[in-house]
Each structure stands twice: as C-alpha cells, then as structure tokens.
Symmetry: C2
Subunit: 240 residues, 2 copies
Amino acid sequence: MGNPKAAMIVIGDEILSGRTRDANMHHLAQALTKMGIDLCEARFVSDDEAAIVSAVQELSQRCDHVFTSGGIGPTHDDITADCVARAFDRPIDVRDDARALLEAHWNARGVEINEARLRMARIPEGARLIDNPVSIAPGFTIENVHVMAGVPSVFEAMVATVLPQLTGGKPLLSQSLRIERGEGEIAGPLSALAKRHPQLSIGSYPFQRDGVYGANIVIRGTEGAEVDAAMAELADLFPA
Amino acid sequence: MGNPKAAMIVIGDEILSGRTRDANMHHLAQALTKMGIDLCEARFVSDDEAAIVSAVQELSQRCDHVFTSGGIGPTHDDITADCVARAFDRPIDVRDDARALLEAHWNARGVEINEARLRMARIPEGARLIDNPVSIAPGFTIENVHVMAGVPSVFEAMVATVLPQLTGGKPLLSQSLRIERGEGEIAGPLSALAKRHPQLSIGSYPFQRDGVYGANIVIRGTEGAEVDAAMAELADLFPA
C-alpha cells in the first residue's frame, strides 16, 4: 500500500526465558498503525552481540525504520549501543552532551557519576539523542535505527518523542464484524470477498467462549469508501 | 551451555498491527526454559508467503527446534502449512488421516465438510500430525519445525503434546535478589561478579514504583552449586 515499513528488535534474555512478558511491541504496533507506518516484522533476540548486530544490519537495510527496545542501561548485560555502533561500523564513546545530562541529574542528587553510569553516555558517532523525560539517560537515532530503553514507561516516552518526527503514510482504517458461525462456514465467501478487494486486508480471528463460537472479521485498508463497501458486502453475505 | 536451541515464529497481521497482543511466545518461553531448551529468537512475521518461507528456512537451519504459531485455520489468510511445505520443498495436499479426523468431527455434528474446512487437512508430505484436543484440526511436525495453531488454548494444548517428545537439556536454575539501589551503583561490582562466573547468566532488571527504585538481579545457570555461590557473593556485595 506504499506506506513506510518498520521493524522492531526487542533485546533481552529476560523475555526469551519467559521471566518477563514484553509489552513494548504491542505499544509500538498500535502507535505505528495509527500513523500509517506498517510494522512488518518484530524480532526478539537475546543479549548476544552477534545476534543484535546481524538483526540491526538486516532489518535496517530492508525497512524504512527500525526501533529497538532494551539493553541501554548501565550494567554489563547492556550491550545494545555498542552493537548498533558496530552494525554501522561507527566509533562509540562517551559523548559530552549525553554526559552533561547525566551529570546534571546525578549532581543535583548529590551523587557522583561513576563508570557504570557513564556507560549510559556512550553514543555512536553521528547519532542524534532521544530525550528521556523519565530517567534522563538518553536513547539515540543513528541512520534509520531508533535505539530506546526496555523499561516500558521510558520506551513509551521515547516513542512519543520519535514518532512525530517521522513521515507517516495513510493511516490504516479498520472495521470489524462479529459473525457467530464457524470459520469453516465463513471461509469460502470470505475468500471470494478478499479476491474482489485485493487492496484490502481481510482477516478472520476465531473466538470461542461460553459455548458461543464464531469469528471476528476485520477489514483493513487506507481508503474509507472501499472499506465501507466491503463491509456492506460482508454484512449481506452473513446476515445476523 | 550445550542445551538444545529453539526459535519461534509467530505468524499474523493482527499482532503486528497491534489489534491483538500475542500470548503464545510467553507461554512457550516458560515451558522451554523449564525443560532446558533455550529459546534464542522469536520472530513475528505478517501473513506474507516470502516472509514465512524465509523465516522457516533460516531458523530451521540455525536451531534444533522451530515452533510456529498461527495461520493454520480454514480461511484465505491461513497460509502457514503451504509456506512450510514450500520452505522444505515438499508437496502438500489433503491427507487421508487428517481428513478422517475432520470428517468424524463434523459428521457427528451433522455438518458436511466443505472445501474451506478441508484446507485444514492439507499436510506436507512426510509430516507427523500434532493432536488438537480442543478443535480437532491438527498441527504437524516436519523435519525440526512444529506447526501449531495461533488460538492460545489450542497452541497450549499442542505444546503440551509436542514438548514431552523432545529431548531437553539441563533446566536453567535461577535465583534473584531485590536490591534497592540504583543500577548505576550496582553495575560495577555486578560486572566483576559476572566476570568471575562466566558460566552463569547474570541479569539486572530495574524497577521503580511508588518512589522506591532499584533492580532485581537474576542469576541463572545449570549448576545449582555455582548459582548458590554467586548468590552468596551477591548478597555480601549488597547487604540489605
């Protein structure tokens, strides 16, 4: 549909081991859909240098935007910034403006900045900082990759800063119809409807609860009139 | 650590568009960790043939096991079985044993099986069926790829069938300590602890709630004695 394409990389052993459940992907997916950027892939990788570097390289070449979440804190398992620098073959070091942000924050609290905290001021050469109103340590954008924190409140604040700077596409409109019949009964006419409207994405999401079963049919597209027309056809095919 | 390695592929536009939030990855991650299989990557792709085929090919070569979720129902957007067949260059058609399962189910309800429902009996040549006690239509295993449904109750039932047939590794043991100090203060000694125990995975997960902040430090490993020893060192480093 010509909309910009995005990918997400979620970094962290704690998610792949099942210890914590990621919330950032769902948040980003909804925010991107609203502004007409298509999230085409999300990849969850562990705190492993080779895995992060190759995901960044592959997805930044294939998509218009890449968003990463996680691995930019002060501890030894926070290796995202170094991996992203390596993916673009850029030097990385403590940068003065990032350091100044952290120093001001900690000095105001009477705490001296130490080596670990300074890790959070390591920024690849040529990157633009992403403001962190929650806990100061910034994210950054380099090329088409936006590197953000994993803590959901910080991730969401950074997304709110970054997205308005991007050019969106036509927002995806969607309408849905709940049909209390089995998918096997719906599928034939639905497939014909999808063929008549190749510009639309028509999905069928089955449900089963308290003995009632059926499917929610969701019709998505960027042209409101066509979505309306297909919805009317759908309602005719399956009268309540 | 020599444990078997696994990857997951979650298939479906509805998750990448933010319409629904995936629950299957978290379920599988916890189940695999319990039996000592390491989930190394999870990839969310849309209902797109090329994306599914290449994810299956790449991950099945790189990992011991691949688990897929989604896209095996009767509607036109259910293309997973065909994509997996294509990834392994196998023919795919309606298979008698799968058809018999579906016919018995529908005939008992006085419903004739139609073309759409028969789609769910399409199985790549050489695959082994995975029982579906919830809604009958089977999943299948081909080579090292386990193809399962996206509906969480069905996915979980299929996982419960498949996992006991796999050889696990040493289950990952984990212990955690809540430390009410900023990560920037913890990071230095923690990094040294991690270097002293290269066989362990030591993660730091910051929290901040009601004005109290700190980090949960999680130490994971397959040898209980070493996890215990590192936990004791950690407790000495940061007395409550």
